[in-house]
């Protein structure tokens, strides 16, 4: 909301500080203020009224009230000196019927003998500073009073009202077309609150007036309306119609019902002064359910404890008084307060404490580090994720963050189902929450291969799936342009670095976006933890990739739960290590792992390590050479013992008729 500096100052007794200081202080004690803009000898201050302060602060008067509290300046009295025409009673000229309770109050006056013309310069100037274009004296006054007091007003041309001069406030019984003052045709739904005469809708209540009773050059008599409507209803209608006005903006915030007559009189008075009008005697004021004022007890201990500072009672009284909060009763430990009707935001004592705190000054509160007896709990998930990042960094993997969204295309390409769908996605390729981190990682890979030769990237994040409930599951996933064997090596080392030894890579029998023959299920301690391998050809083709990346996706929780708490030291023998090489000739499509398994089946404590040293492929076969390292803890090994182990391994191997051990 834009405030004119001069106008604001005119509402206070005494002088406001210079514009920069004024704006700095308002920022500290009340609202954000944009940089002031100079207009001749005035400044426009754009003040961002906090959403809970719409009921009292959306006006020059409201801001003046704040300034009065902040700068300790008294408010000037609003002079409203009406001269009513004692001979003509308003009731003989106008009747009003409020048929709906969402119209909380309806006040009106009738003015005659008006000459519609330009407003005087001072009114025009103030409106312009506030960003409103002057129209004519009557309309300008309604805008002026709204900016001054925060009460939206409306003026009708009295002569254009239908014959009986009756105004009815009610909700529409059926949908209806309506042309607004700005010539926009809108369709009003059934149940829209309107102000009508006996024939037509005149105003969409609280939002916008219509063409029918518009003020024109020829207008001689007017009805001035000053009403109050239920905020949530105005907000709903305004959103539905997509019409937002200065009026609807204020009504949405449930402004003070007690403003209607004051604003009405202020406007009538101004019109009388500048347009020579006659004001008919009396006000029509329909106010069926008077609003009750809120009473709140402020406990002084609570005030002190919540702010963490002892505010002197004298200061408390002064601040409350400056905000027009009345002290009803003071007891030893508490004060009973009466909240003015314009402060709809104050409903509990914390609101009062906020008022005292902000006017007193939060800068006066010293910083105090709290001492708590609560012991800190470690978060193993967070620790694990951070440890993973360190290891991936050692491995030369870079971490990426992706959006958790995918589009229909990826859903189909990867053949995902049971996805969680977003009702209002920001783009078409973000309609679903992704169940896997892989699709977006592949996009990252594609992007980066434009600049990089080899890419190894990973993400620690969540996958989402609808399994009865909306489930989210953490994954550690990666993609790389390197080979299966290369990435498998990293994963083995990854598990190893967390002290996990029992790792298996098993043929993947599942239908998924992983290739069936060129991927493996990873098990640690016999528990499935994830998958590593290439994409299935189907997916690869539908993605149109010209590379064949290796991917892995690990279940974060399973992985974490299999981590041994601490690594265990193994004894280091100082006796010599004996080495024997064994070469096995097997068919080309034999898993080397099978051969290794056979060698390992000899459970000898003397075998220290088995290393694959060479694979040589011929047409149909391959010869695979393993190096066996043997060592005892307590002695050097005799040749005889070594040969015995070697022979046992060989005899195990040749039990498979398809395998041959090279002599």
């Amino acid at each position: 909301m834009i405030i004119s500096y001069n106008w604001l100052n005119s509402l206070l007794k005494g002088k406001l500080p210079k514009v920069k200081e004024l704006s700095d202080k308002i920022v500290l004690h009340a609202f954000e203020v944009e940089l002031p803009v100079k207009h001749d000898d005035d400044y426009a201050l754009e003040i961002k009224i906090l959403p809970d302060r719409g009921s009292d602060a959306l006006s020059h008067f409201g801001i003046a009230r704040e300034c009065s509290a902040i700068f300790n300046l008294p408010l000037d009295d609003l002079k409203v000196e009406l001269k009513e025409d004692k001979n003509t009673e308003i009731d003989k000229f106008l009747s009003v019927e409020v048929k709906d309770k969402d119209c909380k109050r309806y006040s009106a006056r009738v003015l005659t003998g008006i000459e519609v013309k330009e407003s005087p310069k001072w009114i025009q100037d103030r409106l312009k500073v506030c960003g409103i274009s002057p129209i004519n004296n009557v309309v300008d006054v309604t805008n002026y009073v709204m900016l001054e007091l925060g009460q939206p007003l409306h003026a009708f041309d009295y002569e254009k009202l239908s014959e009986n001069k009756k105004i009815i406030i009610d909700k529409l019984k059926k949908s209806e077309k309506f042309i607004t003052l700005s010539e926009q045709e809108v369709v009003l739904d059934k149940d829209t609150l309107t102000i009508s005469d006996e024939e037509d809708v005149l105003v969409i209540a609280g939002i916008k007036g219509g063409k029918k009773a518009e003020i024109s050059k020829n207008t001689k008599a007017i009805v001035l309306e000053s009403a109050n409507f239920k905020g949530s209803l105005i907000s709903k209608t305004s959103k539905k119609l997509k019409i937002r006005t200065d009026s609807s903006y204020r009504f949405e915030h449930n402004i003070d019902s007690n403003l209607t007559v004051l604003a009405l009189d202020r406007a009538a008075n101004l019109i009388q002064e500048i347009a020579g009008a006659t004001i008919l005697k009396g006000v029509i004021d329909i106010y069926p359910k008077k609003e009750k004022l809120t009473r709140i007890f402020l406990h002084l201990d609570y005030l002190k404890n919540l702010l963490g500072i002892d505010v002197d009672l004298k200061d408390v009284r002064k601040i409350l008084r400056s905000l027009e909060i009345e002290i009803l009763k003071e007891e030893k430990d508490k004060i009973e307060l009466l909240i003015p009707s314009f402060r709809k935001d104050i409903v509990a004592q914390e609101n009062i404490i906020e008022e005292i705190g902000r006017i007193y000054g939060y800068d006066k509160i010293n910083s105090v580090i709290p001492v708590s007896e609560e012991a800190i709990k470690r978060n193993s998930n967070v620790d694990f994720a951070n440890n993973l990042r360190l290891i991936f960094k050692e491995f030369g993997f870079s971490e990426v963050y992706n959006y958790p969204f995918i589009g229909k295309e990826d859903k189909e390409n990867f053949n995902f189902n049971k996805l969680i769908e977003i009702e209002n996605p920001i783009t078409v390729d973000s309609e679903y929450l992704t169940p896997s981190l892989i699709p977006n990682l592949i996009k990252n890979l594609k992007l980066n291969l434009k600049y990089e030769k080899d890419v190894k990237i990973y993400e620690i994040g969540k996958g989402f799936k609808k399994n009865g409930v909306f489930g989210e599951k953490r994954y550690i996933s990666g993609v790389s342009s390197k080979s299966f064997q290369n990435i498998k090596g990293y994963l083995e080392e990854l598990f190893e670095s967390f002290g996990i030894k029992n790792i298996e890579f098993i043929t993947n029998e599942k239908e998924s976006f992983f290739s069936k023959k060129k991927s493996a299920i990873i098990k640690i301690n016999k528990r499935e933890v994830g998958t590593i391998g290439y994409l299935s050809s189907n997916v690869l083709e539908s993605l149109g990739l010209d590379l064949d990346p290796v991917l892995f996706e690990l279940d974060f929780e399973v992985f974490e739960s299999e981590i041994k708490k601490d690594k265990k030291y193994t004894f280091i023998s100082s006796y010599p290590i004996a080495i024997r090489d064994i070469t096995v000739i097997v068919k080309k499509d034999t898993f080397v792992g099978e051969v290794l398994k056979s060698i390992k089946s000899l459970d000898s404590k003397l075998i220290k390590e088995i290393e694959l040293v060479d694979i040589y492929n011929s047409d149909l076969n391959k010869s695979v050479t393993f190096r066996i390292y043997m060592q005892a803890k307590d002695r050097g090994l005799e040749n005889e013992e070594i040969n015995k182990i070697q022979n046992k391994i060989i005899s195990n191997l040749i039990q498979n008729p398809e395998w041959e051990v090279k002599k």
Partner: protein, 346 residues
């Protein structure tokens, strides 16, 4: 032969020796098995006992003396030879080092880790929560009225649920709009004192630009106990910002603000560390930067979570913004770009 003369003679020769070979020769001639000293000593048998003894002592002394002298000289020559050789050595230290392939941790992870550490030092336990959240925990329990604008389509991502209109608030799902959902979840299940820091991803359905993202990271602090005050909030926030920006001169100020789940509510500014409040383009000449939202937990939130007779503070700060400030990143969208040209800088 006069021993003194012999000594003199050897010392003169020693003086003249310039390399190891000369020294070896000297050693051989005088101290060796067939050397002069040995010769003298073997010719002693003709002397009487007393004279033999005296000469023997003298010869021995001479022997030790000479050995020491020669050794010293040997070392000196070796050192100078090594030095000479070293002078001729050459290594091109200007050649670039071998390329080492290092991995990179995402800057948001780095910032998040640092924040987790700081809050742990300040006594906060790190806690996480769900990203797909029900409206109750994200809004209702946090005192957001049903018609609050944050609940609208232009701010919140809604999960598609066919029968949404008929569902209770705890059955209607959205993507959480803040990490404050963990406040309500944690307070429902834990008794005060509660002192938690909640890092996590949050979602906003809004147009992106250099400063706005549809998903970004927050870290939230919550402290609930018997007498938690604004002074405590200031204490924690000040320490946290001083630690994070590694600057003891960081100052903060609280301004009135409004969030449904706190009262009083604050906007917290920190002194501009770029210009030390002298005024610069980063702080638009104001000397202050808006950094986070905070407040004293609203009593309605406590009662939604079944707590009473407590006070508390809560604050939330964008990790993205803190990382951008720390690493001087000009556009928030880099974080989700997956672009190694960006990521490899960290």
């Amino acid at each position: 032969m006069n021993i003194e003369n012999l000594k003199k003679e050897i010392l003169e020769k020693l003086e003249k020796s310039v390399n190891l070979k000369d020294l070896e020769l000297l050693e051989k001639d005088y101290l060796g098995k067939k050397g002069i000293i040995r010769n003298i000593s073997s010719s002693m048998k003709d002397l009487d006992v007393q004279a033999k003894k005296e000469l023997g002592i003298k010869l021995n002394e001479l022997n030790v003396f000479l050995e020491e002298k020669i050794d010293k000289k040997k070392k000196a020559i070796k050192t100078s030879e090594t030095k000479e050789r070293e002078e001729k050595e050459f290594l091109d230290i200007t050649l670039p080092g071998d390329k080492v392939e290092r991995g990179h941790i995402h800057p948001l992870s780095l910032a998040k880790k640092e924040l987790e550490d700081i809050f742990t030092f300040l006594g906060f336990s790190v806690v996480e929560g769900p990203e797909v959240e029900d409206e109750w925990h994200n809004f209702d329990a946090l005192n957001f009225p049903l018609d609050h604008p944050a609940r609208e389509m232009q701010d919140t991502f809604f999960i598609k649920q066919g029968n949404r209109a008929n569902l209770s608030q705890k059955e209607k799902f959205i993507l959480r709009t803040h990490t404050s959902n963990v406040q309500t979840r944690y307070m429902e299940t834990h008794k005060p004192p509660i002192k938690i820091a909640v890092p996590g991803r949050v979602f906003r359905s809004e147009a992106t630009d250099a400063r706005h993202e549809v998903c970004f990271y927050q870290i939230e602090g919550l402290y609930v106990d018997k007498n938690v005050s604004v002074a405590n909030l200031k204490g924690i926030l000040l320490r946290f910002l001083q630690e994070y920006f590694k600057d003891k001169n960081v100052k903060i100020r609280l301004r009135p603000s409004f969030f449904p789940f706190v009262e009083p509510g604050f906007e917290v500014d920190m002194s501009c560390t770029v210009c030390n409040q002298k005024g610069c383009s980063v702080c638009s000449g104001e000397g202050w930067l808006e950094i986070l939202g905070a407040g004293m937990v609203h009593q309605n939130v406590f009662s939604s979570c079944g707590l009473k007779d407590v006070t508390g503070f809560a604050f939330g700060v964008s990790v993205d913004r803190l990382a951008m400030m720390k690493y001087k990143i000009d556009n928030i969208r880099w974080f989700h770009s997956g672009d190694l040209r960006f990521l490899k800088q960290f």
